[in-house]
């Protein structure tokens, strides 16, 4: 145990950086993915079929493809097209596209679950469609999508470990590098596992707290 703690102390800065990058890439992709997902969800719920179709195809492709494949695609395809993305950028792009599709489906579902009377009441006081969305429909949809949205955050934290494949120095890659120096394989993998678990439990608790608050009205 003492030996492990000594090694941990030596490796504290690389592991800290890895942890920050894990949280950072998950946070970045949930942020961009949420913006994308709201747009996607609104189109899926209200756009005419010809506009809805490309969004539907995007969502179905993203949801049917393993995250690892998305990450590799985001890393290698732009390079072929002459666009060079760094590994971190490519990784966040992949996770954003993944999150956008999932959040898009969430938002679509919660928009369609709102009683039609809400839109009618909004219309009858003279709101235009964009105002109706902004002040009546999306606030309600976002509330009911919050708990599963937190789950998407958990998925992203877990999914970010796959970024180690393309060389993003997040928690898993840093852990592997540390193990490469000190050969304490089990101890450091367990340690990394505990960190992932701690973040996800914290997110889960946050989700439950939010759900309780929102559930009040």
């Amino acid at each position: 145990m003492q030996a492990f703690l000594d090694q941990l102390w030596i490796a504290r800065w690389p592991l800290w950086e890895g942890l920050l990058l894990t949280i950072g890439s998950a946070a970045g992709s949930i942020l961009f993915g949420t913006l994308l997902g709201v747009i996607v969800g609104v189109q899926l719920a209200y756009a005419p079929w010809w506009l809805r179709l490309p969004f539907r195809i995007y969502v179905d492709i993203m949801r049917g493809t393993p995250v690892l494949v998305l990450i590799l695609a985001a890393y290698y395809i732009p390079a072929v097209a002459g666009l060079s993305l760094g590994p971190t950028q490519a990784g966040i792009l992949a996770l954003t596209l993944f999150a956008g599709a999932h959040i898009g489906e969430l938002i679509r579902g919660s928009l369609q679950a709102i009683q039609p009377g809400q839109a009618e009441a909004g219309r009858s006081i003279g709101l235009t469609f964009p105002q109706l969305l902004a002040y009546v429909l999306l606030p309600q949809a976002v509330r009911s999508a919050l708990p599963p949205w937190i789950n998407t955050g958990v998925e992203l934290i877990k999914g970010s470990s796959l970024l180690s494949i393309i060389g993003v120095g997040e928690l898993l890659l840093k852990t592997q590098e540390v193990i490469g120096r000190n050969f304490m394989t089990i101890q450091f993998y367990v340690f990394a596992g505990i960190l992932y678990l701690a973040i996800n439990i914290a997110l889960d608790q946050l989700g439950k707290a939010v759900e309780r608050r929102v559930g009040q009205h």
Binding site: G117, Q118, E120, A121, S124, I125, G126, L127, T128
Partner: protein, 258 residues
Amino acid sequence: MSDKQHPLLAIRGLKKQFGATEVLKGVDLDLNKGDVVSIIGSSGSGKTTLLRCVNLLEEYQGGEIALDGETIGYRSGDGRRRRLSDRELSRQRAMTGMVFQSFNLFPHLTAAGNVMLGLRKVLKLPKAEARAIAENWLARVGLAARADHYPSQLSGGQQQRVAIARALAMNPKLVLLDEVTSALDPELVQEVLNTVKGIADDGATLLIVTHEMRFARDVSSRVVFMEQGRIAEDGPPAQIFGAPKNARLAEFLRTTRH
């Protein structure tokens, strides 16, 4: 405004179908400013559909609706009629208020927030002014103390009174009320009817769909009987309830008398 040559609401030959079924088969109806008109009729006769057409919540296939002289909902030119844009429809909808059977309050906003939304976003009033108007209207429907309550914290009758305040606060030319008490527990009906009576006495122009015959008789300047997508009889309450000419109306009244 020039002296009133046109009625406030003029419905001419209104036709509406859902798929192959014709629900409104040519409805003509006029309302002058300050009129309180109740529509009665059996279930499925098209009362709700008529109100929804006037509030532009439904499209219709024929006829014309004019509000204060302006044709609403459609523009016709070179032999075709086209539905107006979202922006135009919204502007026209703001001229009428609607109170729904199921209240349809916005659950994420307080009572005051519900009343203020249209004032802020449609009429673009500053926040303090919108709040003052909302408080004023909530007080008029007897809910001054409930301004900061959410709909889930209010009884059905209170929610419906907030909905009435929300519609009236926009200062609409015409208010449409569709069976505003039929989703309520019996003991809550009267408080809402009294509220409607109050706004009628204050001079609002109301088009009311109701199954409350006594209320229709008390509050209306005219009563309209709808039957199978048409207006079968239109007259003062004394005529409609006392000496109905239409045989179907007489039968309807016999079966709904309490």
